[in-house]
């Protein structure tokens, strides 16, 4: 029997429906999640199934809605708020930096804010400098918030279910480039423990670390590398600021080569964090560590420039071969 496949968007939809069935304190709001388009299909049928108490449109007030969710979470609900573009979250930096991220800490653990903020990162086509950006590194700098970046449909489902059930605040970032990817997704609810990277491929030559959309690029790169008989250990970080490094360290001890991919600007990103942790650990590499990130520039809309801006499987392929060529 052919196994059931879901797209990334459908998997998120299923995760939300299952979370809402498991727990009636889960509700969804944001800019018209229940209407036209349903946020890339991720909120399809939820209004029909659960009614307007559980999913409703918010006013166009990102700050107010984030505060609403935080206050509701503190009194025991499990809100999911959705920003169709991560750019809008800039408005909410006060709620994140000054309230939500320090809530558990400042109460000495006595009070918690279990909420999920879903936001979409523009990476696909034509989004230009405004809607193409990602802000994940600006968030991941803060203690007290977990930043999840799912890389595939089955990952998205398990990570989102865990995020909703987590007692910590979670920012859940979805690359638009992933919405149409498809794979088998188990029908029952399941949970992925936050903070544990997943070993996605097992190889012997190079350790590659990625998260979100860059995992897909790495998988494609690994496919091309087969012709050169090169294989990689590929790790999907899943959460970019809560990283258990032991498995990655062990892999690097074996390969002595590391490449980190980050679909975002390099400064202060997880790529620099991962490489720093490897360096601090004192693991001997036989090649300089390498990262591939976005250029230090805003994204040009013009098609050929945009195509040049994002790294591709070919860049991964070449970077890996470079790492393997003589010093």
């Amino acid at each position: 029997m052919k196994k059931r496949e879901l797209t990334f968007g459908e998997a998120i939809n299923e995760a939300q429906i299952q979370a809402m069935s498991l727990d009636k304190s889960v509700f969804i709001t944001g800019l018209q999640p229940e209407k036209t388009g349903n946020v890339f299909g991720t909120c399809k049928n939820i209004l029909k199934k659960f009614g307007k108490k559980r999913i409703f449109p918010s006013p166009t007030s990102e700050q107010g809605v984030t505060a609403l969710a935080a206050g509701a979470a503190i009194n025991g609900l499990r809100p999911i708020i959705i920003h169709e573009r991560v750019d809008f979250m800039a408005y909410t930096f006060d709620q994140l930096a000054n309230w939500i991220s320090l809530w558990s800490f400042k109460s000495a653990g006595k009070s918690k804010v279990p909420l999920v903020i879903r936001a979409c990162i523009g990476k696909n086509w034509g989004q230009g400098p405004q809607h193409g950006k990602t802000l994940h590194s600006s968030f991941s700098y803060l203690p007290g918030i977990i930043i999840a970046m799912p890389s595939s449909p089955s990952e998205a489902k398990g990570l989102l279910l865990s995020s909703v059930m987590s007692n910590d605040p979670i920012i859940f970032l979805e690359y638009r480039a992933l919405y149409n990817t498809k794979e088998h997704v188990d029908e029952k609810p399941y949970f992925i423990k936050l903070g544990e990277p997943r070993k996605r491929l097992s190889g012997k030559d190079i350790t590659v670390v990625a998260a979100g959309a860059s995992v897909l690029t790495a998988l494609q790169g690994a496919e091309q590398l087969k012709e050169k008989k090169v294989s990689i250990d590929l790790f999907d970080l899943r959460t970019i600021n809560q990283i258990k490094m032991d498995k990655i360290f062990n892999s690097i001890k074996k390969t002595k080569k590391v490449l980190v991919l980050e679909d975002g600007w390099s400064k202060g990103g997880y790529a620099s964090e991962v490489i720093t942790m490897i360096t601090e650990k004192g693991i001997k590499l036989d090649r300089k560590p390498k990262r591939i990130c976005w250029p230090d520039s805003h994204l040009p809309m013009s098609r050929p420039l945009e195509a040049d801006f994002y790294f591709t499987a070919k860049d991964v392929y070449e970077a890996c071969l470079n790492l393997l060529s003589k010093k």
């Binding site: 727990d23 006013p59 107010g64 505060a67 509701a72 009194n75 400042k106 000495a108 910590d168 809560q242």
Partner: protein, 348 residues
């Protein structure tokens, strides 16, 4: 209003005043309370009266000038002073200080970044309605806070969603050292709120009995009708904006104005009023003062004797736990048939 209620209000006024003065007195030169503190001397009226209309399950979200509200929401004076000392027995385990006092036990929260607490109170009110709890949220803000954008988002949300919330604005005329006249093109704030479709009113006096009647009406109205209300109250801060030291040497407010308000000191006003009305009030008053004095001394002794927090504070940043539903789920579905060999779900 019963005699008991009047005495309770008087006691509250006196408690807040005396605790605040004790903090001012003992802050220097001991320097053991190592955090910025916003005193509320002069502004005791609202918390003292509000106290009579709050249930434990109602929540109160305060701005930075929070001590009065904290005490009137059932907060322990011991734990508050301990918090200022940075001790483990403090309200927030000594990690937060005066500016972020919180006391989940009685549903009291506060924070010093203007308006965050105000806007989160709206979410709290939302959750109360969502859960069919018959409780209200109360949000406190200053006239300065009313100039932040998020306030208007939150008022709109509270109005649209018909939430059980009472907004109270303490208009003390100043944001730090800048007068309202230099900041807003209107003398009152409550008028603007009406356009949000929120019932909005003002009280300009210093009489606890009058405020009692007003708050009684508002609280029962909000409880019964699940709709927000906004109340502006004129008041005046006698102490400096921040810290135990006064700040009138900077000349930011006219001497005449200070004198005008000091003549209207709510505590002195009420003391006189009750003295005229109640036989033997001076005996009760003496008893109260003694009782409060003991509370204060006990609190400072408690703080002095308490330990500083351990150094493992890192753990408080994350809860690192999940809803019980996760465990329950796995205990019922042990036979999970997941094919992704790399991420077999496991119970945690």
């Amino acid at each position: 209003m019963t005699l008991k209620e009047k005495l309770k209000i008087y006691y509250n006024l006196l408690l807040i005043r005396n605790v605040e003065e004790a903090i001012e007195d003992r802050y220097h030169p001991a320097d053991k309370m190592r955090c910025p503190i916003h005193m509320c001397i002069g502004q005791e009226l609202i918390p003292s009266v509000l106290n009579l209309f709050m249930k434990t399950k109602d929540s109160l979200w305060s701005h930075h000038r929070s001590h009065g509200y904290y005490m009137c929401k059932g907060g322990s004076v011991k734990e508050m002073i301990s918090e200022f000392y940075g001790k483990k027995t403090g309200t927030n385990g000594g990690l937060a200080g005066s500016q972020e006092l919180s006391y989940p036990k009685t549903n009291f929260y506060s924070g010093t970044i203007l308006c965050g607490a105000f806007s989160m109170a709206v979410g709290d009110a939302f959750s109360k309605k969502y859960k069919n709890q018959k409780n209200v949220a109360i949000a406190i803000i200053g006239d300065g806070g009313m100039e932040e954008g998020i306030v208007f988002e939150s008022l709109n949300i509270a109005s649209m969603m018909k939430l059980p919330i009472i907004f109270i604005c303490e208009n003390n005329l100043y944001s730090v050292h800048t007068n309202l006249k230099e900041r807003q093109n209107s003398k009152t704030i409550y008028q603007k709120i009406k356009s949000f479709g929120i019932k909005s009113s003002i009280y300009k006096g210093n009489d606890p009995d009058r405020l009692h009647d007003i708050l009684k009406k508002i609280t029962s109205d909000v409880r019964e009708n699940n709709k927000p209300h906004f109340l502006e109250v004129s008041t005046y801060r006698f102490s400096g904006h921040v810290g135990p030291e006064g700040d009138d040497q900077y000349g930011y407010r006219p001497k005449k104005e200070i004198a005008y308000w000091k003549k209207r000191d709510p505590l002195k006003y009420y003391e006189k009023k009750l003295d005229k009305k109640i036989k033997n009030f001076h005996i009760i008053n003496k008893k109260y003062k003694k009782k409060i004095n003991k509370i204060i001394n006990d609190a400072f002794n408690f703080a002095e004797k308490s330990q500083f927090p351990e150094k493992d504070y890192l753990k408080f940043n994350y809860q690192n736990t999940y809803s019980k539903i996760v465990k329950k789920f796995y205990s019922k579905n042990i036979q999970l048939n997941v094919s992704q060999k790399d991420h077999k779900p496991k119970p945690y």
